[in-house]
């Protein structure tokens, strides 16, 4: 599969919405954002961790819970109007072609090389750049193996749902700290990505550290844009997205979507 995507007009990019059964406010804000994107953008890309967990596409196809059904409907509405791309994150990496068919989206290649009105932009979820987190990278290598994924998806949906519920209950009941710390990207991995793909702009999410960084790679001025994560369950809330247009990429941060 080619990693190149050519997109004209306004391209909107968001990631790390982390939707789940307990994120009604975030879902509301996200749905408003989707409505806005549908009417104002020429293409929408969601690059990973749209869902806080994904146990297989059949979960969405067969009798999805209300919170999920609602988001799927919204995604369908978007794809009916503009091209929609969905990329995998470190949480929802099990999203597959069946979900794409259901929502009318296309699976985003990793990394994606966007050819936009603002030039060439390299886009990816970003967890692959956190190379200092050896434990996570090991986990990532294992769970990204097709055979491992096939093995997990071979479990009955009931069992997978049970595992997810069990994990959730454990997480809720626990009053201990969970290691939720997400490491930042490794500068060397970032430089390598710029060099390998010959891009001057890199966009990623994952780290929950929204920012626009300027850096120099091999004497070339480069820009690394980190997408914001979404959390509307706590106040002050936050979320946001990137607007890529002829006048360059612009980060929109919002505590409200309207």
């Amino acid at each position: 599969m080619s990693n190149d995507i050519t997109l004209a007009g306004a391209v909107w990019v968001a990631s790390d919405i982390h939707l789940g059964p307990d994120t009604p406010e975030t879902a509301r804000a996200f749905h408003q954002f989707l409505d806005q994107a549908r009417t104002q953008a020429n293409a929408l890309i969601l690059c990973g961790d749209i869902f806080d967990a994904w146990i297989g596409d059949d979960f969405a196809l067969r009798d999805p819970p209300g919170w999920l059904a609602c988001s799927l409907d919204k995604l369908k509405q978007v794809s009916a109007g503009i091209p929609l791309w969905i990329g995998r994150g470190n949480r929802d990496f099990l999203m597959g072609e069946r979900l794409m068919a259901l929502t009318g989206a296309s699976l985003l290649p990793e990394p994606a090389c966007l050819h936009t009105d603002a030039g060439k932009i390299l886009l990816t979820h970003g967890d692959e750049y956190c190379t200092a987190d050896a434990g996570y990278q090991r986990f990532r290598r294992i769970v990204r193996r097709p055979c491992v994924q096939r093995l997990f998806l071979a479990l009955s949906l009931k069992l997978r749902r049970g595992i997810a519920d069990w994990a959730r209950r454990r997480s809720m009941a626990s009053n201990r700290y969970k290691a939720a710390h997400i490491m930042d990207v490794d500068p060397a991995a970032i430089e390598q990505a710029f060099a390998r793909h010959g891009a001057r702009t890199l966009v990623h999410g994952h780290t929950h550290r929204p920012a626009v960084h300027s850096l120099t790679v091999n004497g070339t001025a480069c820009t690394r844009i980190v997408l914001p994560d979404w959390d509307y369950e706590h106040q002050p809330a936050r979320g946001g997205w990137l607007v890529i247009g002829a006048d360059g990429p612009r980060l929109v941060q919002a505590s409200k979507s309207s």
Partner: protein, 216 residues
């Protein structure tokens, strides 16, 4: 025969291990800002300076805050009430997000939420901006629901400013700024955090407001 029995058992073990690996990756983040409201005890600012100062003595150092009673009279009076009652003593910064804000003043070190007075009116339309090192009131999704919890902006958070008197547009009321101890705020914002119970972004090591006092 022993050799034959191994492959027969291995897939089952594999699945169990795999399931555990997956289960542990499904850490879910929950949280709700529970709201506690007690009968109101309205406070009148008694011969209040228009720029009263409050010192927050934390276990990371001292933060001196200057409040803006001219632009945020109700929020300032409310904050001073809690300060004078000793409400903030022993509370923690329970939600710390670098490049965004550090929030505290509602929970004690055991993450138990403290009983507050009634919510106050949102004064976010006073022209003060959620810029770096300013102090603003935290609240629930209801614009007029602030009680004791406040946050210190650690970035220019324009998107938290008032834009319209609507539920989405109210924004967050700024009522003061840090005038000394920005280095302490900088130390707090980079604290390592994790999930605790229903809460996200909780510092793994307690950051405690040991004492809040009005500086005369």
């Amino acid at each position: 025969m022993a050799f034959i029995s191994i492959p027969l058992h291995t897939p089952g073990r594999w699945l169990r291990i795999l399931s555990l690996v997956f289960a542990s990756s499904l850490a879910l983040c929950l949280g709700g800002l529970a709201q506690a409201a007690a009968p109101s005890t309205p406070t009148e600012g008694s011969s209040m300076s228009t720029t009263p100062r409050v010192k927050l003595l934390t276990n990371k150092g001292e933060i001196l805050i200057e409040l803006d009673a001219a632009k945020a009279p109700k929020t300032t009076a409310n904050f001073l009430t809690y300060v004078k009652e000793g409400f903030y003593d022993g509370t923690i910064f329970h939600r710390v997000i670098n490049n965004f804000m550090v929030q505290g003043g509602g929970f004690d070190a055991g993450m138990k939420q403290k009983q507050t007075h009634a919510p106050i009116e949102n004064e976010a339309d006073n022209g003060l901006k959620n810029n770096r090192y300013t102090l603003a009131m935290a609240r629930t999704a209801d614009p007029h629901s602030a009680t004791a919890q406040f946050f210190i902006n650690v970035a220019d958070n324009d998107f938290l400013n008032f834009t319209a008197p609507t539920p989405n547009g109210w924004g967050y009321a700024v009522f003061g700024k840090v005038v000394e101890g920005t280095d302490v705020v900088d130390a707090i914002k980079v604290a390592k955090t994790g999930n605790k119970g229903f809460h996200q972004d909780v510092p793994t090591e307690d950051i405690v407001i040991e004492k809040a006092t009005v500086v005369e």
